[in-house]
């Protein structure tokens, strides 16, 4: 079936089957490899994208369900020559080690801060409940988000 999805500001038309998953569409058809595969079962958050502003896992999301919706991936948040303040805060705050969880973390942080520009530490921790990181202990991730909230 044909679906229309707006991705990082551009409109795309895809021919998809019921089984096509957004993560694979992004990675394999558009080469948007910033969104990572960590588990494929919706349990790690490495594949998070913004779907109409909500942070959702793309590895369990069928593409047909996104017809007419808008997706923002990590590439749509910012890039090396024009990074988003959250991306910069993560780098400067030491919130990144291996970096494999990072795109998903930043997507979650973006969704949170868009809705609540001044979250409490509690709220930040809660918002990361579906994002696993095995390197950082989350400490510097939480601090970096705090820093963004104060600055915004």
């Amino acid at each position: 079936m044909l679906v229309n999805i707006k991705i990082n500001g551009h409109s795309y038309e895809f021919d998809v089957t019921k089984k096509d998953i957004v993560l694979n569409v992004l990675r394999n058809r558009l080469g948007l490899t910033g969104t990572k595969f960590g588990c494929g079962t919706g349990d790690c958050g490495a594949c998070k994208i913004l779907l109409d502003g909500e942070a959702v896992n793309s590895c369990t999301l069928p593409a047909w369900r996104c017809d007419g919706k808008e997706i923002v991936t990590i590439e749509g948040i910012g890039n090396v020559s024009n990074p988003h303040p959250i991306q910069e805060a993560f780098v400067e705050g030491g919130a990144i080690q291996c970096g494999f969880c990072t795109p998903g973390m930043i997507i979650t942080a973006k969704a949170l801060l868009d809705k609540n520009s001044n979250p409490t530490e509690e709220e930040i921790r809660e918002s990361f409940k579906n994002n696993l990181c095995r390197c950082t202990g989350y400490v510097k991730i939480i601090d970096s988000v705090k820093k963004c909230s104060k600055e915004s």
Partner: protein, 784 residues
Amino acid sequence: MENYSLEKEKIKRPNPITFKEKEKIDIVVSERKEDTIEPEYVGKREILADGLLKACGQLDYLDDMSFQDLLYGKILRSTIAHGKILSIDTEEASKVPGVKAIATWENTSPIRYNSLVRSIKDDFGMTEKIFDNVVRQYGDRVAAVAAETEEAAKEAIKKIRVEYEEYPGVYDPEEAYYSDIKIQPEGNRLPVTSREAGDVENAFREADDIIEYNLNTPMVHHLTLEPHVCVAKWDPGNELTVWAPQQGVFGVQINLCKIFELPYSKVRAIRTPLGGGFGVKVGIILEPICAELSRMAGRPVKIRLTREECMVSTWTRHSTKTYIRTALKEGEITGVDIRHFLNAGPHASNTASIPFAQVAKIYKLYNFENLKFTAIPVLTNTPLQGAMRGFGSPQIFAALDSAVENVAIKCGKEPLEFRKKYTAKSNDYNYLDPKDAVDDCTIDRCIEKGKEVFDWEGKKLLPKTEGKYIYGNGIGLGVHDNGIAPNEPDITGMTLSVYEDGSLCLSTGICDHGGGSYTILRQIIGEILLVPPQKISVETPDTKETPYDLGAYASRNTWVGGNCAIKVANQIKDKLLEYAKEYLECEYEDVIMLEDRFIDKNNKKEISRVDLISWVFFTKKEKIMVSDYFSSKKNAGSYGAHFARVRLDTETGEVKIIDYVACCDAGNPINPMLLEGQVEGGIQNGIGLALMEELLVDKRSGRVLNGNLKKYKIPIATDMPENLRVVFLNVYEKAGPFGAKSIGEAATVPVAHTVAHAISDALGGKEINKYPITPEMILLKLKS
């Protein structure tokens, strides 16, 4: 006492270094910067060089890279834990459109190997084959398919028919030690390590009390966020190239050459960025399978494991069972007898090396008059177990430190003060491993500083209960090493070259596993050569292009890599100063190096750095570059005393860590931000071990019951301590690069037992004999 030679290793300590003398120096000692000038880059919170790429999703991990003509591989896994393959029928599978190759034990290399050898001469047990006609664990590899698409490979795998003769399995190391069920033709017993200091038998004979303490620790999976992935390309010239997120490319080359009987010049291993390592990306797992499939298909093949395969079919932290008997006389510990069983899973792997690492460290933390340590590694039919952050230290120090804690509680002593009677002191003798000197021991200083920051005395006065909650405080000690010297060769090589514009290129086989090793190396080189770290590029480890390195394990990247970086940077500096002297027509001693130029301090004549490099090129017809290696001679201890305050919910058994202090000695910090990050991650890892992580194996079938993230939980943001503080002693280590020591593994060693001791305190001193300490366990303890 065993007859160890008492001669301590002599370490040359030239200080400060003079560049003229440097060739003679084995252990590179950097100048203490505080006596001279403020360090420019060392000690700063330098950001990760590839941090922004990672933040923007623009760093390509292997699964993000494209390869021409790539085929996709899938592995068929055994559904039984032990048995013989009677037949494999691949006919239906081969008919699936797109299938290009099918590998089984019948058509792949039969050479036995050990995935973790570091040299062709290593004599770790060779028990593995790419595929075998015996499966030895649930999820063992049975066959593999390469196809045009992942879907086709998956479909083909489903169509392979396997007939097994099922054997009984054995899943407990103690049982397996005596069992008639033989997992390998050579039996189940791996070499036992037994060492003794003093006379333990006599201590027990003369004891007026004996206290026992046992601890079982679980199989814990590393759970790198990036799943295991590998690409292999066997080209028609019989040259094999493999790409993988590897902690050590040279080990891959060695093993593949052995398995396929290829010369080293024909096998090339390339590291791709690691999405986490922690010990599970050392050695070979997918490499030989991808290689075989690629050889058969004549095209490159990629295999990416599913999360479940990663958890069940790579390896885990060793599960252990430890029995400690303590002899007491007049309230003092006079003897300690440790029996430590290590579950290896079905292969030798490097399990028998764990006890060697453990014996080296015991006397770096505790100095008991009489101590016997017997480590018994045994094969079983559980998932394979192998290196993981800490390499046996978290398990052995959890048992030993808890045994001491337990004695203190039973004898009514204050546990912190009681410990200090037995902690090692600087220059104590390492009775179990005399070559590996104790040298500077800072555990008491970690205890003192941590006690103050945590407010140990104040916390003890706080109320123990509050409604349905009970509270407890705990302390835990640990140490980890820096590399594998002096017992084993611990070597790394580097090439450093100067570009025309003064920036630098470092070629190293060291693999940064994400913790920032390259950032550390850049800071070190930048400091010596006064070049901003951003102007130093680091090449991708590649057995064909970059110099040798042993591998990113044993906490060696900063220690060995940092020292090698100092060595090559000093040689470059020497060259630059020599050329500058010649150009400026002055004495070597009179040349002052600045970031942008060289000056003769007497007549102020100068040349810019860029002009000097060009002058060397055009006039001297030389290129400024250096290649050298560093062989580590010493192994310092990185110490930690951790403190925790926990809150237990007596209705649900839930544990909340409300306060945590880690006081660590990692030497003089090269990058405090990265150092903190390592400790924070190490704490998270230890909390998982203490409270929630265990790969469960069904006792009858050997099936793994929770090989997925729905059932196997790791700490999330809300599981971390509410108030977490990391403090460092900042003690300058003579043999460390700029006084630094390792932290990555040391960070996690004391965590689990610190949490356990706090829980035990909340429970009124009840013993904890098993990790993870689940809510069910706590409720049971509350009832008993």
